[in-house]
Symmetry: C2
Subunit: 361 residues, 2 copies
């Protein structure tokens, strides 16, 4: 498409890793962080990819993200752990924590790891996907300091979009890969409607006076999103409840941030007030059923869903992750299409940090 | 209120236990099952209480529910188990399974138990609430044979309302008690609107032709509910995804029923085709944080939510379970108000099975 340049994932990953090394990360951590971000772009989740390099660069240069965190367990049992991320990048702390959950599941059948004092970890499903090669179910949840969602009947942001990701292996079918925020919609969809001059459905967000509105501009300025379900009559108390569950498992269980705690009780901890907390779980399939039987049932279930009767005007039913799976295959073959402004931002970083970046022609 | 009779929970529980004993359940199991059903009524969840006694009576007399199941572990590790419910009542199998999850968490920090060949277990939060006295987080999920929810872009029921319940202890505040179906709304709310001649919001359900409708009668006859989120533009793919997660953890992981499997592959197992599968987890708080610190954080979070700014026209923000908690306190003091037709149904069962039932005057 015009206005886009296709870059090979490897090129972007190498560039991103080199940037993180310039920003003082150890080579191995720089490589991990780059993998997480570029995989998001590769799957079409551009909101969680290298678009955020500026945010991470700023955090590392201004000192509120820690390039060489001492990640440590503050509590641990064979099947559980609480990690303190020591202000590291979420991609570094997160991969470390999910690896720990997987190691625990290998030994014991399940593993649960909750994490405090980390930072924005990118795409949640990166971590739950890590369970797949081990024939495990992977779960990843996170909150962050950027609160944007109101409780049902509320008019004040009280939690972040608190995503839930659950990934489950299948056999011949692609895995089931759910990765959803517990808000009704992503904020960037509201921004996009605003830029296009379009209205949004009632039930996406509130205006500054706390009323539900179809005016995208009103939501852009209030920054108030509704929980999944929209209004109470269509179940927003459920999305609100799920958002709080994420805050509990990530924030309260780890002793980290949750809700609007930072606004009410700012600290002098250099890392806490920009931080993010996470929760990871890994569940070994063969603790429950033989893996081949389980995968055959998954295939059967996923196919039945796809083959079921379509609503008028639709000719395809998707299962979670199917679209991302198809995008990933195409982008691995043909490169990731980046909008020009984003490529220019990369070129700016390349000049600033003196890192080679091959754009091609 | 006119048209209602208040009955003491104890009276209804004793009657229900006596009925289950007449239906050949061992005294202990009869008492358990009665406790589960009457607690639902006590919390205002009347759709899952003794209203369903006819269903259980029929299942037990017709032989597709087993009054004396041999519940057995078909796979087990210290932290996990798969139970076969042998066609027992969900309330009997479910309490047994949740007790096992709690015992595992006591020893190891967490416990996960999945269950096949059980039946409708009543109110999901009964089981997650069992974790509270042990200072644990309790999780209960279930599916059942009564499929009613369509996938996004679908027009055929492919899973049941697949509820998720998560209960978390707090300190001075009442516990956080989430119990939500992953459908946008309960079917009985559609029926109620139909009886009253009211329309329902677009996004609750589909008519028989597969189109979203505000005609309650159209949904009552099609029996097609939409997933939480309603339509795709307001996030139904998320409710759909969560419904499938419940089906996976309960049905696929246990080797039991899921989706529309029964319709596609009926069996000659006397119990399977009316069955329900469950998933339970218990998480010991002190595996992660000192219990008093955790509870203080919970109190702080829950109070902050309740104290946050209200939307126009609202003067109170609730947290999950708060309404049920208040109803339960009132009903424990003054009895449970049952509508007359339901009381008459109880009296009918009392005559049929020759069980004393004190209605008062």
């Amino acid at each position: 498409m015009p206005g886009e340049i296709r870059l090979k994932a490897e090129v972007v990953r190498n560039f991103t890793a080199a940037l993180f090394e310039r920003l003082s990360l150890p080579a191995e951590d720089a490589e991990r962080a780059a993998q997480v971000l570029v995989r998001a772009d590769q799957r079409g989740v551009m909101s969680h990819g290298i678009k955020n390099l500026i945010m991470y660069t700023e955090g590392l240069t201004k000192g509120y993200m820690n390039p060489h965190p001492q990640i440590r367990a503050v509590a641990e049992l064979p099947v559980t752990a609480v990690l303190d991320g020591d202000g590291g990048l979420g991609m570094v702390v997160g991969t470390h924590a999910m690896e720990l959950a997987i190691a625990k599941a290998k030994t014991s059948g399940t593993g649960m790891v909750t994490v405090r004092r980390s930072h924005h970890f990118g795409m949640a499903s990166f971590y739950s996907l890590m369970a797949l090669p081990h024939d495990m179910i992977g779960i990843a949840l996170t909150n962050n300091a950027g609160i944007a969602v109101v409780p049902t009947f509320g008019a004040e942001a009280m939690f972040s979009t608190n995503p839930i990701s659950v990934v489950v292996p299948a056999g011949k079918e692609p895995p089931f890969e759910l990765d959803m925020s517990t808000a009704v919609v992503a904020f960037n969809k509201v921004e996009l409607a605003y830029i296009k001059g379009e209205s949004v459905p009632l039930g996406w967000g509130l205006d500054a006076s706390g009323e539900t509105t179809s005016d995208a501009g009103g939501i852009v300025s209030s920054k108030l999103l509704l929980p999944l379900g929209g209004t109470q009559i269509t179940g927003s108390h459920k999305g609100y409840g799920l958002g709080v569950v994420v805050d509990i498992l990530c924030g309260v269980l780890s002793g980290g941030i949750y809700g609007n705690l930072i606004a009410r009780q700012p600290s002098d901890d250099a890392y806490r007030d920009t931080s993010s907390t996470h929760f990871f779980a890994a569940i070994r399939i063969d603790a429950f059923r033989p893996v081949d039987e389980f995968k055959a049932s998954m295939d059967d279930m996923l196919r039945a869903l796809k083959d079921s009767k379509k609503a008028k005007g639709h000719d395809r039913i998707y299962v979670a992750g199917e679209i991302e799976h198809e995008i990933e295959a195409e982008r691995l073959a043909h490169g990731i299409p980046y909008p020009l402004p984003l490529v220019e931002r990369l070129q700016g970083l390349a000049r600033q940090f003196e890192i080679p970046l091959e754009i091609g022609d």
